[in-house]
């Protein structure tokens, strides 16, 4: 069974030889992995734009990600500050770990902060051919063996808040519904075009995403989500499936979003990511929604990977394979990019346990 068949089998709700694996990491963690695995590469993009996939392939991962959209503005350069093509200002900010210093890129300036700015705002053009050359190359080189995911996360809400400012976007959701409609459509149209082109090029799955969950509840009410998000996402998914009825669509939201899972199933979602175990119980989510949905993620990144032991990591993976991974329907991996605070022993325990645990041994 090759990587691609493994993912196909899991997404058909059947057990492959072993659970498919997908793991992303921050650029600094990628540097540590390169040293460990003796691979080469450039500044690592955790969303999958512009990578060589040397690390992913050396780790025996099953899905390769290729990204078009605003999310590529994260970790775009090593510069202290930069402005992306959406006119959003970024700052590199350092943090310390026992494995040395890391950097996050954080948004510090928002082009639509003023109400009237939206009237004259020009979004980048998603039709530029050069945006898709990498995806075409990944498909050409790897689709035979790997499951290829076109990434258009930060699909509307997250890019909208990057343009407008987070707090103000939340205020707008409560007070300025007409403005929110206009604001959301800017990134939505861009990512819709990008996703369509990626499907036409031949990716196997499109990954969309917007964080609407906090640690233990939704950030916004389910009613607000239904008012602004649901029909837009429904159109997005239906459009992709009209181009290729076999295409799978995955959706990412951090945190607790259980109240909207039935809605996501209703609008045709195939895969839900990342199922943060401290926010939603993977076993319960599987038993309630596992017939209709597949899952991607589920390994705790808030405690087990950074602060647990290799034994904790192994135990968690086996527990997940026996519950949310039972009868297939799971692509296992951490619930976010692995961070620099994670011990390499924990990381390798994760990779080796996944790779060396056939379903038949459970």
């Amino acid at each position: 069974m090759n990587h691609r068949e493994r993912v196909q089998t899991a997404l058909a709700h059947e057990e492959p030889d072993r659970c498919p694996m997908q793991i992303s990491f921050t650029p600094e963690f990628a540097d540590r992995l390169r040293a460990q695995l003796n691979t080469s590469g450039n500044l690592h993009n955790p969303h999958g734009g512009g990578n060589t996939y040397a690390i992913e392939r050396a780790l025996n991962q099953d899905m390769l990600l290729t990204s078009v959209g605003w999310a590529n503005s994260y970790y775009a350069t090593d510069a202290d500050t930069y402005t992306d093509e959406w006119q959003i200002d970024w700052q590199n900010i350092e943090y310390q770990t026992k494995y040395g210093p890391g950097h996050y890129t954080e948004m510090v300036g928002h082009p639509l902060a003023e109400d009237a700015a939206i009237d004259s705002y020009q979004a980048p053009n998603p039709h530029r051919p050069e945006l898709y050359t990498e995806a075409a190359e990944v498909i050409r080189q790897f689709k035979k063996d790997y499951w290829i995911v076109g990434v258009t996360v930060t699909t509307m809400f997250e890019t909208a808040w990057a343009l407008r400012g987070y707090e103000q976007t939340l205020v707008d959701l409560a007070l300025n519904p007409d403005y929110v409609e206009r604001l959301f459509d800017i990134p939505l149209n861009y990512h819709m075009t990008a996703a369509q082109k990626l499907v036409e090029l031949g990716v196997d799955m499109i990954w969309i995403g917007d964080d609407v969950g906090s640690q233990n509840r939704m950030l916004i009410s389910p009613a607000t989500w239904r008012r602004f998000f649901k029909s837009r996402m429904a159109t997005f998914i239906a459009t992709l499936k009209s181009i290729n009825p076999q295409i799978k669509v995955a959706y990412h939201s951090d945190g607790m979003i259980e109240p909207i899972i039935p809605d996501l199933i209703e609008i045709g979602l195939d895969v839900l990511n990342p199922i943060q175990p401290k926010s939603m119980d993977p076993q319960q989510i599987k038993s309630k929604y596992g017939d209709a949905l597949c899952f991607w993620g589920s390994i705790d990144e808030q405690h087990t990977l950074p602060f647990g032991t290799p034994e904790d990591v192994r135990n968690e993976i086996i527990a997940r394979l026996k519950t949310i991974g039972k009868n297939g329907g799971l692509i296992i991996g951490p619930t976010h990019h692995v961070q620099l605070d994670t011990p390499l022993e924990n990381f390798m325990a994760m990779v080796e346990t996944i790779a060396n645990t056939p379903y038949s041994a459970l």
């Binding site: 770990t97 939340l170 233990n216 620099l340």
Partner: protein
Amino acid sequence: MLEKIYENVIKGNIAGVTEGIQEALAANQDPSTILKQGMIAAMEEVGRRFENEECYIPEMLIAARAMQSGLSILRPRLIQANIEPIGKVVMGTVKGDLHDIGKNLVGMMLEGVGFEIVDVGTSVAAAQFIEAIETHQPKFVGMSALLTTTMPEIGTTIKEFQKAGVRDQIIVMIGGAPIDQKFADEVGADLYAPDAAAAANKTKMLL
């Protein structure tokens, strides 16, 4: 009139709150009563609704903004009448962490129940927290971190408070997505709350 203020704080209607306060002041209503029965009562109700999942962050945010806007009008009258805040809180996100929506919400909810907030901003080093403690002499210091990579900075900062000899004069409260009571106990924080409404309730109980 107080009802008008109360209703408009809950609705997040800044113009309505402003108008209500001006009318109440023009009618010689006691500023302390306006604050307590019009605004604090409204924010307590917003906190209750939040905890019961009858409202969410956008609704909490607009109520808090309406409250803040009302406070800016009322504050000179409160000072004139010698009405003090119920306590002072210095708060910020720890060094390396720029994610401030949680910290801002906690600040707004604390202000909503009558505290004075000294917001020292984002990515605040221990030395800056200590300077703010020495300058403002707060009873409470609030710190937040969204990320596992920055949350250890909370423990580091508390240790720096001890070294600087200010730890015993303050109550340290912490929060943020990866934080829980166990972590709070490990780093020696006094108070942990999972959300802004709970933070306001718990802090008030420690007065």
